[in-house]
Each structure stands twice: as structure tokens, then as C-alpha cells.
Amino acid sequence: MIELLPQQLVNGLALGSSYALIALGLTLVFGVLQIPNFPHGELYMLGASFTYVLVGYGVNFWLAVPIASLGVVLVGILLDQVGYRRIDRGGNLSLMIAALAMSTVLQQVATLLWGAEPHTTRTPFTGILRTPYFSIGIYQIVIFAAALLCWLFVWLVLHRSRLGLAIRAMAQNRTAALLMGIELTWVRIATFAIGALIGGIAGSLLGAAFPIYPTMGLNPVLKAFVILVIGGVGNLWGAIVGGFLLGILEILVAGYISSQLQDIGTFAILVVVLIIRPNGLFGRAEVLR
């Protein structure tokens, strides 16, 4: 069994990079605006669905990805403006319930538009990289790269742009940021746009490898919340590392304990982490350091 370890670790990294990619947008929105954006899973689903529709109309896949992602950005902004903005002072409970509600609504809209049946975008990356120790699909490498690139993109936006400065300021101290003349509305829009963009890209790319259906975002977003808790709220690097960690853990549970316990394993880890550290493994991380 141990000789399988290199392959299993690679499997874990590949799985983890898809988790990380999804967790990234979720943690950004949570970190800046303290909104548990449950419908992030549906943004992911929409990224996949839009790409599917575009490719169906004959649009080139690599062109479809950005168009679809931009479409998702619009939906993301809409979520905030319609749902969260007016209950921003309503407290955690209202935000969580609104999030759950919007998640359901988006799933149903997708069902009405495209049906419940799974679809798939014909994958543009079919190759496999084989080494003596492990093999890995090209698309998994693409996802891995996308996760790192998206992280880099967010990092650059946050740390190398004027907008990013404003977002970080708003995340750290809302009152002081307002006194700098920064407008909350624009920061909200920008944050949701970036979060949704990453969600859209994730869906767009992963939809080329996985089936696309209205509730496809449910599992990933649950995992992303687990990552958020493990990796620290608002900690972008934590989302990446947490994603990889969770992916590897899941694979190791399935590979070395039992594939019947894969899900139990994941959430058992969550429960244990929260018992030991009620504010997550890396603590209530410094928001958007």
C-alpha cells in the first residue's frame, strides 16, 4: 500500500486544488464583508453552465471561459445588491438564511433553464502525464495552475492596486476606511466581482472535466466552508493550503482507511478541528493580511 503513496498524494493535491480554487472566492468575500456566501457554490455551477451553453453555440472553449466568468461576475454582484446589501446590519443569522435562500433560488433557476440532467462541456484537455511514480491528467495540472494563478491574481489585486488597498482597508476597519473617502458600495461590488470571477473560472474549468447540473455546487461549497474554517477566515493563503490539506486528507482516508468513510472523514476532521480550536485551525486569521 505504501508504494501507492506518491500517486495518492498527487491525487490529493489534484483534488485539493479544485477545492482551493472554490474556497478562494468564498474566503475573500467572507474576509472582507463577513458574508457567508453560500451561493458561491451556485456561482461555480453557473460558471460551468454558461461555458456549456457558449461552447454549445460553437464558441471556442478558451473564449467561453472568460465570457462565462464575466457573466458569473454579474450574478455575483446581483446577489449582493439584491440579497445581502439590505440586511447588512441584520446580523449573522439573517445573512446566513438569506445566503441559503439565494442558493436554493439559483439552483432552481438553473433547473428551469437547463434541466436537472447532467451535462458536460467537451474537455479540451485530454492528455495524461505519466512518470514512474505517478500519473496525472493534464486538466488536473490546469486546475492546479489555475488555483495558484487565481491566488496570485487576488494577491496582486489586493496588494498592488489602489482598489485592493481600499478592499483591505474596508476589511480591516470599516469606519476608518469610510473616513478615507472609500465608498462601501464600490468595495462590495468589487469584492463580490472578484469572488464571483474566481468561482466562475473554477466552474468554467472544472465543468470541462465534471458533470454540470444544478446542484453540482453543493458539495464543493460545503468543502469550501470546511476549508474556510480550517484555513482561517479571510486568509487567502490559508484557503490554498487548507484546500490542498483537505484534498490530501480525503484521499488518504479513502485510500488507507475506507472509501465508505470518505465523507465522514472530512467532516469528522472539521468537527475535531472546531472542538480543539473553536475559531478554526489557524485562528480567526488576520483579515486579508
Binding site: 481600499a166 482597508a169 480591516q172 476608518a176 473616513l179 472609500i182 465608498e183 483579515v287
Partner: protein, 232 residues
């Protein structure tokens, strides 16, 4: 420059300001004194637009700004140094300063230079996280950050709170030099010494109303303030 007329403001059920009248002349420096709970911070927040103005008016450069958002007020030149300094703790000193000038677009080196000349200490520490600075340094940073916004009117909410006497002196020096540059100052303070050092005209706030006003030199040396604080 700033005219506040019969201003009432507060939070939820609580009405803190009950008809306040204050005027700040062009290039003037005004102090508002008052014990805790008199409504000083609320006044600052109302002027900068963080809380809404319930009744009365705030005019700035002749225009009524009482319904204008915070961001727009900053753009028009009202910049506040908030109570407790409120620096961005996980950003560097330089980033904090850049945020001060956020409304003016990409920060120019010259603007930063000016602040560093005013507060050399900040230049030494420009790469450090603001949260690691001492209280006095944070206050200087908050001042410098506000100056990056090129204010016409600088609002200061108890800048001496929790500072050592040495730091208070530094703040006083800084404010005096800022005043000399033609920036109007509205200083809300409990510390009489700083008020005397900076203010030309003074108001005393008591339970949400102006209890007294007059030229700072006269008012502050009289017993009015001490009475308000010590209940003589």
C-alpha cells in the same frame, strides 16, 4: 468655512446632540471641550457623515452637506482623525499613508515626502505594520494619513487619549504646524493643555448642547471648563 446650525444627531433611541451651533472660520482653529458623554465624538461623526444628521444643517464652503455621503465630504476637504486613531493595523505605515490620499488617486511621492518631512518618525517606520507602532506613533500616523487627504478642514477626535505627555506634545507641535499651513482645524478634546495650545476659539459641550463659547484664551482660562469637568 464650516457652519453647524441647530444640529441634532444620535444613535437609535439615543439623541446625543440636541441642537448644536458651531462655526469654524477659514483657516481658523476651533476646540470643542466637554466631559465624556457630552457628545463630542458624536459631533465629529455627524460632521464627517458617519451618522446621519437628524435635524439642523451642516454647511461647508457655503453648501449644505448634511445629506451628503462620507466619501463626498472627504472629497470636499473634510478629513477626520478618528477617536482611538484607527490606523489599519495589518498594513504598513506607507500603505496607511497611501490610503489617506486614496481619493486623490495614485499617491505621488511628493505627497508622501511632505508627510515624511512633517513626521520624520514615519519615514523610519514606513515598512512596518501600523499595528506595531507605539500609541504616539500611531497618532502621528493617523495625522499624517489625514494630511494625505489634503484637507481643508481637519477634524480631530480626542487625539491625546491614552497618550503620554511627551506624545501629547508631539501631537500639539504637529497640529500647530498644520494650522500654520492654512488648514482649518476642529479639535474635540478633553485635554485643556492641548486645547489651549491649538485653539483660537472654543466651545464647551454639555449634555449635547453648547454650554459656553468664546475666544479660547479667555474661555479656557476661565472656570467654565473646570466647572464642566469637575462640577464646581
Amino acid at each position: 468655512m464650516l457652519e453647524i446650525e441647530e444640529l441634532s444627531a444620535g444613535y437609535d433611541r439615543l439623541e446625543v446632540l440636541r441642537g448644536v451651533n458651531i462655526t469654524v472660520a477659514d483657516g481658523g482653529s476651533v476646540v470643542v471641550m466637554g466631559a465624556n458623554g457630552a457628545g463630542k465624538s458624536t459631533l465629529c461623526r455627524a460632521i464627517s457623515g458617519l451618522i446621519e444628521c437628524r435635524r439642523g444643517a451642516i454647511r461647508f464652503d457655503g453648501a449644505d452637506i448634511s445629506r451628503v455621503g462620507t466619501s463626498e465630504r472627504v472629497r470636499r476637504g473634510i478629513v477626520q482623525v478618528p477617536e482611538g486613531r484607527q490606523v489599519f493595523p495589518q498594513m504598513t505605515v506607507k500603505e496607511n499613508l497611501r490610503l489617506g490620499g486614496w481619493i486623490h488617486g495614485k499617491a505621488k511621492e511628493a505627497a508622501l515626502r511632505e508627510i515624511y518631512d512633517l513626521f520624520p518618525r514615519l519615514e523610519e517606520r514606513q515598512g512596518q505594520n501600523a499595528g506595531l507602532l507605539s500609541g504616539g506613533e500611531q497618532q502621528l500616523l493617523a495625522l499624517g494619513r489625514a494630511m494625505m487627504g489634503r484637507p481643508k478642514l481637519l477634524l480631530l477626535d480626542e487625539p491625546t487619549q491614552g497618550l503620554s505627555p511627551v506624545a501629547i506634545e508631539q501631537v500639539a507641535e504637529a497640529l500647530i504646524s498644520i494650522g500654520r499651513r492654512g488648514v482649518s482645524i476642529l479639535l474635540v478634546e478633553q485635554n485643556l493643555a492641548l486645547a489651549e495650545a491649538v485653539g483660537r476659539y472654543a466651545y464647551v459641550l454639555e449634555t449635547g448642547r453648547c454650554a459656553a463659547e468664546g475666544p479660547a484664551a479667555e474661555l479656557l482660562s476661565s472656570d467654565v471648563v473646570a466647572a464642566s469637568y469637575l462640577g464646581h
